[in-house]
Symmetry: C2
Subunit: 189 residues, 2 copies
C-alpha cells in the first residue's frame, strides 16, 4: 500500500483541513470521505481506524514543525542566539497567519483524555520542542537553560492560544518582548 498514492494524499489533506478548522470529534469519516472525493473503503484501506487517521494528521503536523525548526537551527548553526530569536518570529510569519484556530496539539488534547493518541503526540512534540530550546539556551550559556526552555514554551503557548481566542494583534509585540527577556536571563524564579 503505497504511502504516496493520490487518494491517500487527498484524504490526508481533507482531514488536516477539517480536523484543524472544526475539531476532530466534530468531523466524521463520512464527511472526510465525501469532501476528499474518495470511497469509504479506500479510506479504511489506508487508515484502519479513525484514530489512525488522527495519529497521521498530528504526526504530519509535528513533522512540519520539526522540519521548520531543524532548518532554522541548521541555518544558524554558528549562531544559536539568532536561531532562538528567529524561532519566536516564526509565530508572526505567514505560515502562522493561517493558523487562526491556534495549536493543533493543544486543541486536540482538549478533545481527548489521558491515554489517547492525540495526547501522546502532543506530549511528545512539546517535549521535543522544549529539548531543542534547551540545547540552544545551553549553547548561548544561559544560566538555567532547562527552566528557561520551559518558560519559552509557556509564553509561546500563551501567545498562540491567546491569539486564537482574543484576536488581539498587538499581542505579537508583547510576546516577542517576553520571549527575548527570557533568553537574556531576566526572568528567574
Amino acid at each position: 500500500m503505497s504511502p504516496r498514492s493520490a487518494a491517500r494524499q487527498r484524504i490526508l489533506d481533507t482531514a488536516d483541513r477539517l480536523f484543524y478548522d472544526e475539531g476532530i470529534r466534530a468531523v466524521g469519516i463520512h464527511r472526510i470521505v465525501e469532501e476528499a472525493g474518495v470511497t469509504r473503503v479506500t479510506l479504511y484501506r489506508h487508515f484502519p481506524s479513525k484514530d489512525d487517521l488522527i495519529s497521521t494528521y498530528l504526526e504530519n503536523r509535528a513533522q512540519y514543525d520539526r522540519d521548520q525548526v531543524n532548518g532554522l537551527v541548521a541555518r544558524h548553526a554558528d549562531n544559536p542566539r539568532q536561531a532562538l530569536v528567529e524561532l519566536a518570529t516564526v509565530l508572526t510569519d505567514d505560515d502562522f497567519a493561517a493558523m487562526q484556530r491556534g495549536c493543533p496539539f493543544i486543541n486536540s488534547s482538549a478533545e481527548f483524555t489521558g491515554a489517547h493518541v492525540a495526547r501522546e503526540h502532543s506530549r511528545t512534540h512539546r517535549a521535543w520542542v522544549t529539548s531543542v530550546l534547551e540545547e540552544l539556551l545551553t549553547r548561548i550559556g544561559h544560566p538555567a537553560p532547562r527552566s528557561a526552555a520551559h518558560q519559552l514554551m509557556m509564553v509561546r503557548t500563551g501567545a498562540v492560544v491567546s491569539r486564537a481566542l482574543d484576536r488581539n494583534p498587538e499581542l505579537s509585540a508583547d510576546f516577542l518582548a517576553g520571549w527575548n527577556l527570557i533568553i537574556d536571563g531576566s526572568v528567574s524564579a
Copy 2:
C-alpha cells in the same frame, strides 16, 4: 421551573464534572442523565437543548471565577498591587489543583467553531478578566495598563495550558516570576 431544584443541581454537577474531565463532545446526554440519576425528560425540562446545558455549565464556571476575583479585589480595595500579586497565586491554590485538565473556556473553544455559545462565553469571560486586570494596573500607575493586562492574560494562559499538557511542577515559579515582571512594567514591546 425553580432554578434550584435538587434534580437540576445534580444534572449541573454531573455535567460540570464530565464536560470538564472528558470534553463536551465526548459526553452525551444519555450518560449525564444516567450518572445524575435523572430521567431524560427531567433534563430536557430544565435545559431545552444540550447547548443550553453547555451554556449554563460555562456560565457557572465564569460566575465562580468572577466571585473569586471580585472577592479578592474587594479584600484589597486599598491595595491594588497586592490584589494583582495575589491574583497570580490563585493559580497555585487548592482550587486549581483539581483543574488538571486546564481551563474549561480554552478547552471548550477548541471543540467548537466560530459562533457557538462556548466560544462566546470564552470571549466574554476572558475580556472581563482582562478588564479587571487593566483597571488594577491603572490604579497602581502602570505606564501601559492595557498592554500589560493582555500580557498578564497571555502568561496566565500559557501557564494553565502548559501545566495541563506538560505536567511540570516547576512551572508555577516561572509563571509567578513572569507575572511580577509584567506588573513592575519591565516587559515592554
